[in-house]
Amino acid sequence: MHTYTNFEFIILDDGSTDNTYKLISQYTDPRIILMGDSNNVGNYKRRNEGCKLAKGKYICVMDGDDIAVPNRLEKQVEIMEANPHLLALGSDFRWINGGIYKKPKTYDIIKIMLLSNNMFLHPSLIIRRDILEKVNYYNEEYYFSSDYDLMCKIALLGEVDNIDDCLMFYRAHQKQISTKHHVKQETYANQIRLKYAEACGFILSEAQKDTLTKLMSQRYDNGDIEAIKSLIDILKSQNKEREIYDNKLFNEFLKRYSIQNIEKMHN
């Protein structure tokens, strides 16, 4: 599967009711470690179990249906080894039946864009194990938003980036998360955004926080426009004052949330 051979492959069966466990247990490759049991405890609990068990210097968390290009690990490890300050590294990806999806590049830009959402295709990431331990792994309570939360926590510690290269094929999930979950996920994503904004150094009132989540999740209406205007001014001035992000890049980022753009989108 991979050209890189110095790895261990920890597979955690989350209580499959089909023959998954049996089929996997027939592999005799000593690098495969099959764990898990008959309980369905959830993907993120299993991820954490696996990550805590892992012995490698680097960790890649994948899902059962992800496909990597053959030299993926080699390429990523080479970059990680050459850049000790780099804590996590993702990549662009190709839809299995279609186009290329480019991810934002450079730490300075990603740091800013994490205010709005996760900037990584999670299965494309390689993460230093000691960093994963330092941020206390995935926050299991956030469900599918745990990926976003994890990358915010890591970006606050140091450099993260995406390689300008397609290392993954990605299959869109056929199973849809139900609307109930969607609301839950949105709530978690908002909590994560605010936590991240605060950790970066912004100081916001409750009303401003509310506006920020509406803006970043793009769930606002015309009644919010005044509040958004003033929030953008505050973000700009705090950023300048507190030297949070690169000023030029941050102002560019905020441009897409400028009133003209918002009004354009609404009309």
Partner: protein, 311 residues
């Protein structure tokens, strides 16, 4: 036959009375992916008939002439499983013994051998515990056998640390019969294998009413002393290797012991207390090269179709 996860090695010598209970406790385990290797150690009673009545495909029978150590080694050599578990023909496994140990070894890959507690029955009933951590096991082996033999489960590769003569791994040493298990543990400890005992009762251990002969007791004591003597020397060398400042005190202790001014028990106590200071470093394994650079972590749920495709 598919490769089982666990091979249970059980020597049987004239065990008619308790054999059925013992086998039943194995076949009804919550973890079912195992082979039960029964080595008939030259039984002259109906033991073999009892075994033959079972129709379970997981049972493998090996016949040998009466030679306990050789029978044990034959069983270990025949094992196909990832792990080898020991069991005696008059003991009873707790219903989830195999599952507990299997999970433990899957999870704790730095551990080579795990044992557990026993609950005696027969002439008297008592819960018998053991030291749990590797470093405590290393030190407790100075005084006594640190594991309960019928509770152990170990990685199969361990057998490759021993000579392979006459197509049999010489894991147990005939020279130390009556204390062959104690000898094996001290051997493996000095070979830097990592031990851990699970603080749970894994096996019900039958204490038989039959009197142990005094000849047997004397033999066992002699073998035990021999093992402790040899082990003590290795531990002392190991301590000095870790920290040279202990050389003089240990050297003096040996002189005193040799001139009968110090009892063997006191000598053991001295080595034990000095060893406690460096217990973290005793028989430390060097992990270099064994550690993978990358860990790929993948939770799966009902991905049968996908697994089939990627074959």
């Amino acid at each position: 036959m598919e490769q089982p996860q666990i091979s249970i090695v059980m020597p049987v010598y004239n065990a008619t009375k308790y054999l059925k209970d013992s086998i039943d406790s194995i076949l009804s385990q919550s973890f079912s992916d195992f082979e039960l290797i029964i080595v008939n150690d030259g039984s002259t009673d109906e033991s073999l008939d009892i075994i033959k009545k079972y129709n379970d495909l997981r049972i493998v029978v090996i016949n040998n002439s009466h030679n306990f150590i050789n029978s044990l080694n034959m069983g270990i050599t025949a094992a196909k499983g990832k792990y080898i578990a020991r069991m005696d023909a008059d003991d009873i496994m707790m219903p989830d013994r195999l599952e507990i140990q299997y999970r433990f070894l899957e999870k704790n890959r730095h551990i080579d051998i795990c044992g557990g507690w026993i609950h005696t029955f027969g002439s008297y009933e008592r819960e018998m515990q053991t030291k749990q951590q590797s470093k405590d096991i290393i030190l407790s082996a100075i005084f006594h056998c640190p594991l309960y033999h019928p509770t152990i489960m170990m990685r199969k590769e361990i057998r490759e640390l021993f000579e392979y003569n006459d197509e049999i791994y010489q894991v147990y040493n005939e020279e130390y019969v009556y204390a062959e298990d104690y000898k094996l543990w001290t051997d493996l400890l000095t070979k830097k294998c990592k031990f851990e005992n699970i603080p749970q009762i894994l096996v019900k251990y039958r204490v038989s009413e039959t009197q142990v002969t005094s000849l047997f007791q004397k033999e066992m004591l002699m073998k035990t002393c021999k093992i402790q003597n040899e082990y003590l020397e290795i531990i002392m060398a190991e301590i000095i290797k870790i920290n040279e400042k202990y050389y003089d005190i240990l050297d003096n202790a040996i002189d005193l012991y040799n001139s009968s001014k110090l009892s063997f028990d006191n000598l053991k106590m001295i080595v034990y207390s000095i060893g406690s200071n460096v217990s973290d470093k005793l028989f430390e394994k060097e992990y270099k090269g064994e550690q993978p650079l990358i860990s790929i972590v993948m939770p799966v749920y009902n991905v049968e179709e996908f697994v089939k495709r990627s074959n």
